[in-house]
Amino acid sequence: MTSITAEVHGRTVDARARGAARRRRRNRSRLTILAFLSPGLVGLVVFFLYPLAANLYYSFTHFDLMNSAVWAGLANYRFMLNGDRQIGDALVNTLVFCVIAVPVQLLFALGVASVMARVRSGAGIYRTLFYLPTLLPPVAATLAFTFVLNPGTGPVNAILKALGLPQPLWFSDPAYAKSGLLMLTVWGIGNTIVILLAATLEVPVELQEAAQLDGANGTKRFWHVTLPSIAPVLLFSTIIGVIQSLQIFTQPYVVSTIVGNGSGTTADNLGYPQNSMLFFTEVLYQQGFRYFNMGYAAALSMVLFAATLLVTLVLVRATRRQFHGDGG
């Protein structure tokens, strides 16, 4: 009996020792992982979490960067809902542009990528041609578009006139301004084209061949083989497109400044013509960096952050089932 107890006790001690050793190993392993992760974690805290927390705090204050922030509770958010009459236009413009621009950009990029995947000779030249606009600084590209689409002196309207077609005022007309902006962003979609082209070329050839043997024509193969295979890349491009559309700033800012009748000051023209090019980020810029209402600008950026996060989450959840079958 005693020897049995001793044996059991011995086993328990051994088990405890082994457990402690395991825990030590696990802890050491965790510390090693943490050590390797630490540069990234420090970056995350310093450059994302802290600014995010500070921004959240400032969104509840009146802050002009000159004097100490004054706690204002929900005043900035109330001003957004009741006082700032520009925000409605900015919100509508941003959402409309996002809803139209993202599908158009994706369809265009997908179409070009699909055609380029089939090109046998000169593929490099076509890829370079479609990617080149991406290399141009957005300000320069936008300036070029304002000259090309100038209603009085631009070549586009000159051609339309020669053909006897109506000549829109483009960036001077709120009905056409967003179309001009859409053309500009579609023209510079080279990055997405390259990503989708790479994904299309990665689709297993044996799958395409099997579908072809089963009698699937080109459209069916694209719909049932290519599209499901590149769906994760499409989702990635959609999310990036949505984020870029919600945060669009440079192009409408430059267009409004250049086209806005030359009335001298940039701020007078922000959103020109008639607020049709006033986007959410421009109101944020105006309030934060022209009027120095930093508290309100922080509140606007929190709303933009929340909206972007929400749209991204909805997109990921909605498409999860497609990629993982049962939603796992």
Binding site: A54, H62, M66, A69, D84, L169, Q274
Partner: protein, 444 residues
């Protein structure tokens, strides 16, 4: 317990970091060495001047150095109000700054961007009554004189005398209706119906045509005595917009937009007034110098803008350059000596007026006969001296009221506003909200 301790430490760190960021800038300026201190020092002055104009100002700074040999001034040109504000907020402010945005000075006063100069004015005995009273609106706010005017811009009517003679018009329009009638006579069309030359561009966001410059001839009240925006309550606002819309409609909005889109840039040699594309325009006094430089053979004349009140004809809008000591100035006493020199020294103002072709801002310099060298420029000097000449009242919201009105004007002239009166009332409400929002943090 350990978790609670970690949470408390994290909260404390976060609170410290946040507090560190909210401390704002120190309200005191730089080291005060006293005005009697004659230790050699180099101070920095930021201005928006570039090229020839910067050289002209440098010459004045050399003259200042002769008068105050222990102070050397380094002028950094090409600086905008935006860069100035960023520098002040970033703690790298210059010792002295010239601002060309007179809309903004009231917000600089309210936020402390510019130091309140009143104590320095009192102790150095600057006679404020020698400075043009019409400049007070843009140099003083809520009892704080935080800037002084250094030259001003006044706005008048420029008209093409050849085009006038050809159309049989003998004098500049004195009423807005006369201006409309002249504009129609002076406009010519291409065979396809597009505008070839325009009599006058009635857009309120075209070059120097804006609610402030044109509004000076409509006797507009910007704010009620209780501080609320008066666009909805003062009928003159609606009268001005009505007049403007009638002329826009006469041209056709689309035709006018297309014409404007094809015009040369305001400050280039292709300026459409100088090239004869526009016969009448509202412009600043600087156009005299530009026309002399860029369009030597161009024949034009100047006049005050029309006025709804005949007794006030001859007046106009005044705005212009201001000088202030930014928060964080390292040599505020020496900067004050320079500010005082630039704003009040008659010989300095006369010399700058002759070189830069802006309007001087003291009564003594304005009366100096040596600046009356050009018939067209003299009209601008007379507008500056007119007792009814006004400037736009400043608010803590800076340029926001004018910008909101400009946006309203853009919608209105395009025919997108169905009810002018309720539209103006809405703009007034919007301006009130913006001012309230901007004022909220300035109570300390």
């Amino acid at each position: 317990m350990r978790k609670a301790l970690i949470s408390a430490t994290a909260l404390a760190i976060a609170a410290t970091l946040l507090a560190g960021c909210t401390s704002g800038l120190s309200s005191s300026g730089g080291a005060t060495s006293g005005s009697d201190d004659k230790t050699p020092v180099t101070i920095t002055m930021w201005s928006f001047f570039t090229g020839r104009e910067k050289s002209d100002v440098d010459a004045r700074l050399a003259a200042f150095h002769k008068q105050y040999p222990w102070i050397t001034v380094k002028q950094v040109g090409g600086q905008s109000d935006d860069t100035l504000l960023q520098a002040v907020r970033g703690g790298t402010a210059p010792d002295l700054a010239l601002s060309q945005n007179s809309d903004a000075v009231s917000s600089y006063c309210a936020t402390g961007t510019f130091e309140n100069l009143q104590a320095r004015i009192d102790s150095s005995g600057v006679a404020m009554n020698t400075i043009l009273p019409s400049t007070k609106n843009y140099t003083k706010y809520a009892g704080k004189q935080c800037a002084l005017p250094v030259l001003a811009d006044v706005y008048g009517l420029y008209y093409n005398t050849s085009a006038f003679a050809k159309a049989g018009i003998t004098e500049a329009p004195k009423t807005w209706d006369a201006l409309s009638a002249d504009a129609k006579k002076l406009t010519t069309f291409n065979p396809d119906g597009s505008i070839k030359t325009a009599g006058f561009i009635p857009f309120l966001d075209f070059f120097e045509n804006n609610v402030s410059t044109v509004g000076a001839g409509w006797g507009l009240k910007w704010y009620e005595s209780n501080g609320k925006a008066a666009m909805g309550s003062d009928p003159q606002w609606a009268a001005m917009f009505d007049w403007q819309k009638k002329l826009v409609d006469w041209y056709g909005y689309s035709k006018l937009q297309k014409f404007v889109a094809g015009l040369g840039a305001e400050f280039s040699a292709q300026n459409p007034f100088q090239t004869g594309k526009i016969a009448i325009t509202v412009d600043g006094e600087w156009r005299v110098a530009f026309a002399a430089d860029q369009a030597k053979d161009f024949s034009y004349a100047t006049a005050p803008i029309p006025n709804v009140d005949a007794a006030k004809y001859g007046s106009g809008l005044i705005s212009g350059t201001t000088v202030g000591i930014p928060q964080g100035s390292k040599h505020p006493d020496q900067a004050w000596l320079l500010a005082k020199y630039l704003a009040t020294d008659t010989s300095n103002l006369v010399d700058l007026t002759l070189k830069l072709r802006n309007v001087p801002t003291t009564t003594a310099s304005l009366k100096d006969s040596s600046i009356r060298t050009d018939k067209q420029f003299n009209v601008m000097l007379d507008i500056a001296a007119n007792k009814y000449t006004t400037s736009v009242p400043g608010t803590p919201a800076g340029a926001a009221p004018r910008e909101l009105l400009t946006k309203f004007a853009q919608s209105w002239e395009a025919g997108k506003v169905s009810n002018l009166h309720s539209g103006l009332a809405q703009v007034a409400k919007q301006i009130d909200s913006q001012i309230a929002q901007a004022s909220a943090g300035n109570s300390q």
